[in-house]
């Protein structure tokens, strides 16, 4: 069995690092997703072109390869070294921001044209229409696929262990080296990730419920299995956004 010392010295701080990495990259990805996503619905072709180019480049990127490039190749070119954790957050924020932008764009495009026209007729500016009319209506549609994306992001954070960030996967590997058995630590690791994903899903359900209530829709009804499930029923297909990275098409 795992000794207490190993657990407290490595694993618990690792859990905290994983949470931090997830939070930071999720925040960065969210900002990028909304900025790029709304830019992609712009009427100006140049804005659509720039945001579209961003999307095409980063959705095709493997976060792992990107991370390695930032940590190992970038220094060779620019002669400065990124802090590994920052490199990891950057790589995931940029790529997941691209996937997220597709969700945002799809949900915005699904807002009925009549709503946009009504906003126009009332003399709202483009920004006000987005902020007051389109985003509030699109938001509940975005939540289920964004939940799936967030779980993918959480899983992706395990990759930072390969660029020496001492997250819980990194800690798990250390513990394995220090212990005779590998089964307990890796099982624990998987269970902790699963529990985190479960917590995220529960949280996003609450967000979705509030978002729906906020625009006067009934909260979604869920069956027993859907309640237990981490899969978001509306997560795939509604906006054309993938629940798994790389699926954006």
């Amino acid at each position: 069995m795992m000794t207490r010392g190993m657990f407290e010295t490595y694993f618990l701080p690792g859990v905290w690092i994983t949470i931090q990495v997830t939070l930071y990259s999720a925040l960065m990805a969210a900002v990028i997703a909304f900025v790029i996503g709304t830019m992609r619905t712009s009427q100006l072709w140049i804005v659509r072109f720039i945001s579209g180019t961003y999307f095409e480049i980063f959705r095709g990127m493997s976060a792992l390869v990107f991370m390695f490039w930032l940590v190992f190749s970038l220094p060779l070119i620019f002669q400065w070294q990124l802090v590994p954790m920052f490199a990891g957050v950057l790589a995931m924020g940029l790529t997941y921001g691209a996937y997220g932008s597709e969700i945002v764009r799809g949900a915005l495009a699904a807002v009925p044209v009549a709503q946009r026209e009504a906003g126009l007729a009332l003399g709202f500016s483009r920004f006000d229409r987005l902020r007051r009319i389109e985003i509030p209506q699109a938001w509940p549609e975005m939540v289920p696929p964004l939940n799936n994306l967030l779980i993918e992001l959480l899983k992706c954070t395990a990759l930072v262990s390969t660029i020496t960030v001492a997250d819980m996967t990194f800690a798990g590997n250390l513990v394995r080296i220090g212990e005779s058995e590998s089964a307990p630590i890796y099982t624990l690791l998987l269970v902790v990730y699963f529990v985190m994903a479960f917590i995220i899903t529960r949280g996003m359900r609450v967000v979705e419920r509030q978002a729906k209530a906020g625009i006067g829709q009934a909260p979604p009804r869920t069956s027993f299995w859907e309640k237990l499930s981490l899969r978001e029923p509306g997560g795939e297909g509604t906006t054309g956004a993938p629940s798994k990275i790389g699926g954006a098409q």
Partner: protein
């Protein structure tokens, strides 16, 4: 575990050599993911709760935990229980099983998209269960899921470099010893 430049220089060629490995792994991973995913999807429609329930639990667990950790699990834990696989085999199995839980979802959606009247017509003609799946349901489901399956092949291609990590850690591990 301290990766200085020496280690990196050991690692990088391995990484690029890995391109071929990547393609190979993606291919075999795809085969596993497509076949196993179909098995999951069919099992999830089983009339028996004791089949559906564990299958749902297993696929949920695999889908919601990181592939990298699953690879570590296969690579370091499995040998303690029996089979000891090379990094490549581990990677292929891990990739295939992990993505089978995604393809299962795709199949599920495709199967649910086949109108219920098709099941009923097959039953009214007394077609066997196997034949109903093989010539009525699956051909219609496959048609509508092919693009989605293609997306997961691309996703596998992107994740397959993780196999190189197992290989590298394996070599580092041997170097340490």
């Amino acid at each position: 575990m301290n990766w200085e430049w020496d280690a990196v220089q050991d690692f990088m060629p391995l990484f690029w050599d890995g391109l071929w490995v990547t393609l190979k792994a993606t291919f075999w991973g795809t085969v596993i993911a497509f076949v196993l995913g179909l098995i999951w999807a069919i099992a999830q429609r089983s009339p028996f709760r004791w089949v559906r329930w564990p299958v749902n639990a297993i696929t949920e667990f695999i889908r919601n935990t990181p592939l990298l950790v699953q690879l570590f699990f296969l690579f370091y834990v499995l040998p303690e229980w029996g089979p000891s696989w090379s990094p490549l085999t581990t990677g292929i199995v891990g990739l295939g099983v992990h993505f089978s839980t995604y393809t299962a979802e795709v199949y599920r959606a495709g199967i649910e998209g086949v109108p219920v009247g098709q099941w009923e017509a097959a039953k009214a003609l007394s077609l066997s269960r196997v034949r109903t799946w093989a010539v009525v349901i699956l051909p219609q489901a496959i048609r509508r899921i092919t693009p989605a399956l293609g997306n997961y092949v691309i996703a596998m291609l992107k994740d397959s470099p993780m196999i190189a990590i197992i290989g590298a850690l394996d070599m580092l591990g041997q170097a340490e010893v």
